[in-house]
Every structure is written in structure tokens, then in C-alpha cells.
């Protein structure tokens, strides 16, 4: 029922957090980029998470199995609500908050008033996000290890 699918759930969490880390490192690396391909300063990128729902074929198959299946198998898949299948990244968006204006008349990028538009990346914010992503990543790793240890323990039935 759930041994391997719970590992899939954990791995989806790992993937999502790793993607978040990638964006955070990109933001930090580009914290001083005043000119990108579009000509504007670098805009901070962020992402949205969504719960991954199980696909129609999964739910259909499990329902069919519980109705048609093995006569001795009287276990109902998913009585009650269905469990999600983990997390997925919804979309990667650019943060639309305004650029920081820094007074630096000597800079070749300075406009007529002497202000340079810097990327809207706040290093402190990115560090905090990085810690959060790292902690969530570790939690998902623990979750995956737990699922694995339960599966290994199950193999002891009948042994000895």
C-alpha cells in the first residue's frame, strides 16, 4: 500500500527544497548584478509550492483493485480522503517589489540623478530562507530513512 509511495512523497519534498536552494543561491550570486540581458537589474526569483495530487490513473486503479481485487484482500485502499503525493513546484516567479536605489554617482550605471538601481535581493532574507530550506531538506531525509527502516524491519517476519 504505501511503502514505496511514501518514499516517493519524501523524494518530491527533497526535489522541491533543492530547487528552492538553487534559486536562493542564484539570488545571492546575482545580488549585485545591475544589468541583465533585458537591460534591467536582476530581479529576485522565488517559487511557489503546491501539493501534488495523485493522478487520476492512480486513484482509479486503487479503487478498482479494492472492488475487483483478490477475494481474500479485504483491505480498502484509502477509506476516507486520499493522501497527497507530496509537493511540487507551482511556478517560478520574479519578485515584483521595487529595485533598491543606491546613491553612487561614479558608477557607469548611474542615472541622471546619480542613483543606481540594485537588484531587489535582500541577503539576510535569502540566508533565512536558505536555513529553512536546509532544515526542511533534512526533515525529508529523516522521513525517507524512516520509511526505509520500516521496510527493512518488515523483512524480519518469519526470520528466526
Amino acid at each position: 500500500m504505501s511503502f514505496f509511495s511514501s518514499m516517493d512523497v519524501s523524494s518530491s519534498g527533497l526535489t522541491a527544497q533543492r530547487l528552492r536552494m538553487d534559486l536562493i543561491s542564484q539570488n545571492i550570486a546575482n545580488a549585485d548584478t545591475t544589468r541583465t540581458e533585458e537591460g534591467t537589474p536582476y530581479r529576485r526569483k522565488t517559487l511557489t509550492f503546491e501539493e501534488k495530487k495523485r493522478s487520476f490513473s492512480d486513484v482509479f486503479n486503487s479503487k478498482m483493485r479494492s472492488i475487483v481485487g483478490n477475494a481474500q484482500d479485504d483491505s480498502n485502499e484509502d477509506s476516507g480522503e486520499s493522501i497527497g503525493a507530496g509537493v511540487k513546484v507551482g511556478k517560478i516567479v520574479e519578485d515584483q517589489s521595487p529595485f533598491k536605489k543606491v546613491y553612487d554617482p561614479g558608477n557607469p550605471e548611474a542615472d541622471s540623478d546619480g542613483y543606481v538601481s540594485m537588484p531587489n535581493v535582500d541577503i539576510v532574507q535569502e540566508m533565512v530562507n536558505m536555513i529553512s530550506a536546509s532544515r526542511t531538506y533534512e526533515a525529508n531525509v529523516t522521513s525517507m530513512n524512516t520509511s526505509k527502516s520500516m521496510a527493512m524491519k518488515a523483512l524480519e517476519i518469519g526470520r528466526g
Binding site: N70, A154, G158
Partner: protein, 106 residues
Amino acid sequence: MAISPIGRVNEIYKQTSQALKGTSNDGDNDTGAFKMLFDAAKNVAYDTTKLQNIAENTTTDFVTGKIDNIHKVLIDQEKANVALQFTVELRNKAIDAYKEIMRLQM
């Protein structure tokens, strides 16, 4: 109060030995005892086959990815093993009893 496994197995052994002593309620006294023993043996063998089929189906489902419930596979397999062991022991005891009876008739 849970019935212990010892109690359960002994119960079934007792039924079998009662059949040998001819305490069945069958109207026909000559073949009553043997028929009961034979039926008991048939039932046990049939149940063992059923359990083994279930174990095989569960294993096949696991291998083909239909289910991924590891403990179910192991438990079904273990039940089939225990049932088989029980059937074999029962058969041995029945054969011993038969030999005993054949000796007496000499």
C-alpha cells in the same frame, strides 16, 4: 480471553484423534471414524492450498508493482508456511496412527 496457539493446535489434533477412536456422530460405525479423519485431512489440505494461492497472488502482485505492501507479502507467505508445516505434521501423525492400528489387528 485469547485462545493460545497451543490450545488451537491441540484442539485440531484432538478432533483428529477422536475421529480415530470412532467417537463420531456418523450413523455408519464402520467407516465413520475413517471418514471423519479423511474429511479433516481433506479440509486441512484444501485450506493449505488456499493459503498458498493467496501467498502466491500477493507475491505476484508485489513483483508486478500492483501493491507495495511488504509486510502483507511476508505475512501471507508465513501463514502458508505454517499451514504447510501443520498439514505435514498432521499427515505424519495420521500415518503413525494408521500403522499403530494395522499392528493391533495382527
